[in-house]
């Protein structure tokens, strides 16, 4: 798409694009990656601790503990969103706080808070999945495709 965009630009516009890039502050990609690695890892470590908590105190197994763990992490991220902390964490950590499931919780609750003034049905209800909707759609769809590939593979190789 970047190519088709470039084609539509006049030579003058392309020249300006190059000129402007000299003045642009670039994203500090390496620094962002390191921050995302540590914050994302830290969030996952908390998730792991919660998971052990459910296994040792509530007789969940390693397989079944993932559901209550996910719910707890989402709940915590919702609290942090409501208190106005998560967006600051997001500016610092980038993908580190967006990729774990807590980022999913943040995208839902932030939209719900934002549209509360438009009422519960059309405001909160209609907008709560504004950002998370595409995660759900493409998440479910890609899970379906992967499961399909796996099923075909098993059928063809006889479970080998």
């Amino acid at each position: 798409m970047a190519d088709s965009k470039k084609k539509n630009k006049t030579p003058e516009q392309q020249q300006y694009e190059k000129f402007e890039q000299k003045y642009e502050t670039k994203r500090p990609v390496l620094k962002n990656c390191i921050k995302a690695f540590f914050v994302g890892g830290f969030i996952c470590m908390i998730g792991q601790l919660i998971s052990y908590f459910y296994i040792y105190f509530f007789h969940f197994t390693e397989q079944t503990s993932s559901n209550p763990t996910t719910a707890t992490v989402i709940f915590l991220s919702m609290l942090l969103t409501g208190f106005g902390i998560y967006d600051r964490l997001g500016q610092f950590a980038g993908a580190g706080s967006a990729v774990p499931v807590s980022g999913f919780g943040n995208s839902i609750i932030s939209a719900a808070i934002e549209h509360r003034t438009e009422g519960f049905v059309l405001g909160v209800g209609g907008n709560i999945f504004k950002l998370a909707g595409s995660v759900i759609l493409f998440g479910v769809f890609s899970a379906f495709v992967v499961a399909l590939i796996k099923t075909i593979f098993i059928m063809m190789t006889g479970g080998f």
Binding site: T10, Q13, Y23, T25, K26, G82, A98, I113, E114, L131
Partner: protein, 336 residues
């Protein structure tokens, strides 16, 4: 009087009789807190929605300007205002309560100078005795419309800018008192310039060519050179846009002393505030000009300034449809 291609000269010198400037909590912690008339410590401003709070900002600024000028709303012929919200409802709703005949303007962040140019034109040619003009923006209301929900933890790139919560309103009147007041002398209306940039998180870079175009045209139309002004102030180009604009002007053969070229988006906040490339929004140039800059002029710091308010004429829809960002800039010169 029309001079050159697209500039007006106001030979009767319409006066900026009084101004009102309101702001939010983030501006209260900024560089120019002392230049605001009203500062709120809460983004909600006692209202139940950010859009209502946005309207309150403008109303309070308008009422402050009228009060300081000892002018009644009934004696004010027109109110020219605009903002960034869909269908400019905060401005129109404020006009409903002010009960002053109203022109709703949209020039994105250039609205402040669009209004000042039109108001000066009206007063200069006896179309009105008193005209109220202003622009406003509210960080949370604007972010909600143009970007993600305010509490969403997305990472903004270093080219992004911070929308100012604030309103700046001025009352423009005929030049009749002996008091030394700032007055407008000329205005250059900009044309829409689109240099093909499409990143909504880099508005400064997109707007710089529009600012450079208007500044160049202003000097050509009026046969002036940059030394005529003590200060040339752009609206909300931010760090990247300002440097790009200076570079563009240099390339076109107009050398401006970098110390004389300021930007409202860089003046309003401290370096410690997390605003990336600087402030922006319709309220940015309005609050900085009608508050800080006019105060400095009254103190005798500057005699002649040129304010070039820049606007990015995009909508969230055009961004998603991958359109580039058309931009505009209007310039008004103010003397004391």
């Amino acid at each position: 009087m029309l001079q050159g291609k697209q500039s007006w000269v106001f030979q009767n010198h319409p006066v900026i009789k009084a101004t009102g400037v309101s702001g939010g909590p983030f501006e209260a912690n900024g560089m120019l807190a002392d230049d605001f008339d009203i500062l709120h410590d809460d983004l909600w401003m006692g209202k139940t929605s950010y859009e209502q709070a946005h309207r309150i900002l403008l109303e309070e600024a308008a009422q402050t300007a009228l009060k300081k000028a000892e002018t009644k709303p009934e004696d004010t012929q027109f109110f020219l205002a605009g903002d960034l919200i869909n269908q400019i409802t905060p401005s129109s709703f404020a006009a409903r309560d002010l009960k002053i005949p109203y022109f709703g303007l949209f020039g994105a962040c250039s609205t402040s100078m669009e209004g000042l140019a039109l108001a000066s034109f009206m007063v200069n040619y006896q179309g009105a005795n008193n005209v109220l003009t202003g622009a406003s923006s509210h960080n949370a209301a604007v972010e909600k419309q143009f970007r993600y929900p305010t509490e969403y933890g997305g990472q903004k790139p270093p080219t992004a800018q911070w929308t100012v919560t604030g309103a700046g309103v001025a009352l423009i009147t005929k030049n009749q008192s002996n008091e030394q007041l700032p007055y407008t002398t000329s205005a250059t209306i900009g044309k829409v310039v689109d240099m093909g940039l499409a990143d909504p998180f880099n508005m400064g870079g997109a707007m710089a060519p529009a600012a450079a175009d208007t500044i160049l045209t202003h000097f050509q139309d009026l046969n002036l050179d940059p030394s005529h002004y003590d200060l040339i102030v752009t609206g909300d180009l931010g760090k990247i846009g300002r440097e790009t604009a200076i570079g563009l002007l240099k390339e076109k053969g107009l050398a401006i002393d970098e110390n004389k070229m300021k930007d409202c988006g860089l003046l309003i906040y401290t370096n410690e505030q997390p605003v990336q490339s600087g402030g922006s929004g319709a309220g940015c140039s309005a609050t900085v000009l009608y508050g800080h800059l006019l105060n400095e002029m009254k103190k005798g710091m500057y005699k002649r300034i040129l304010l070039v308010a820049t606007g990015a004429l995009l909508s969230p829809l055009t961004v998603q449809q991958n359109e580039s960002i058309p931009c505009i800039a209007h310039a008004v010169s103010i003397e004391i």
